[in-house]
């Protein structure tokens, strides 16, 4: 993936907020509905980072999380990759079912899938790509640091 922005983060939950704020700031001029950035992309990216640090890297401080962001004419694409062994993201319990709704965990990937236009994983499951489609291209908007390609 050709990236416009790459972040290399420690597996430190305290780094999530600052990293997400930084990405949000870079996206602020992309022409997307501010609410979709603030809610959909922000929550989706936060969930992906928390999963990568908590479960992927198992809070191992020596392991890193890579964030790649690409701004293209039709979408903001964000990829989050950890150094863990991955997991099967296609057989997860439904957190809204009566059997699971009282559980404290299990809503992160569900929310990603509800809030983003596309969510897909690599084969082993240690890398997730989030796609937020942008409204039709306008040539008068630029992302911070460069024109939308």
């Amino acid at each position: 993936m050709a990236s416009d922005l790459v972040l290399d983060l420690p597996s430190d939950l305290a780094s999530i907020e600052e990293a997400v704020d930084f990405v949000m700031e870079r996206c602020s001029g992309c022409g997307e509905d501010p609410r979709r950035l603030r809610l959909n992309l922000r929550v989706g990216l936060s969930e992906a980072l928390a999963n990568a640090m908590l479960y992927g890297n198992a809070r191992d401080a020596s392991k890193r999380v890579k964030v790649e962001v690409a701004f293209r004419g039709s979408a903001i694409t964000t990829r989050v990759t950890d150094e863990g062994e991955g997991f099967d993201p296609y057989h997860l319990p439904d957190p809204t079912s009566p059997a699971n709704i009282l559980k404290a965990e299990g809503r992160g990937i569900f929310l990603m899938r509800k809030l983003l236009d596309e969510v897909y994983f690599n084969d082993c499951g240690n890398s997730v790509t989030l796609v937020l489609r942008l409204p039709p291209f306008r040539d008068d908007v630029e992302v911070d640091g460069g024109a939308r390609a």
């Binding site: 936060s46 709704i101 809030l115």
Partner: protein
């Protein structure tokens, strides 16, 4: 950013300032559980000053509500903004909680 606790009659009101996320959820959990252990049974979590909640934040609210109910109490939520309401609706947690539009409405009848 943090959690401010205030007693209104026999109800403990917790203000969530900023965010309720994976990085600070344990702080809220500890505060409420301490108060539960001290005998408090009625809780309102007020989100008027809250930006957003992640799934860990939602999870800690579910967990606390369950523990409070097990002790015969009730935990209500107040002042969710539109983004937060959307998260509760998507996860169907709006069916699990008493969600009030204001602190006053949450306190009423608790």
């Amino acid at each position: 950013m943090g959690f401010q606790v205030e007693k209104v009659n026999d109800v403990l009101v917790v203000d969530v300032e900023g965010q309720l996320i994976v990085g600070n959820r344990q702080e809220l959990k500890q505060k409420v559980l301490e108060e539960l252990e001290n005998g408090e049974r009625k809780f309102v979590v007020d989100f008027e000053k809250t930006g957003y909640i992640d799934s860990s934040g939602l999870g800690v609210l579910v967990s606390l509500s369950k523990k409070v109910r097990e002790q015969g109490g009730e935990l209500r939520l107040a002042n969710l903004n539109e983004d937060l309401k959307t998260l509760f609706e998507l996860t169907k947690l709006d069916t699990l909680f008493h969600i009030a539009d204001s602190r006053e409405a949450a306190l009423k009848g608790l």
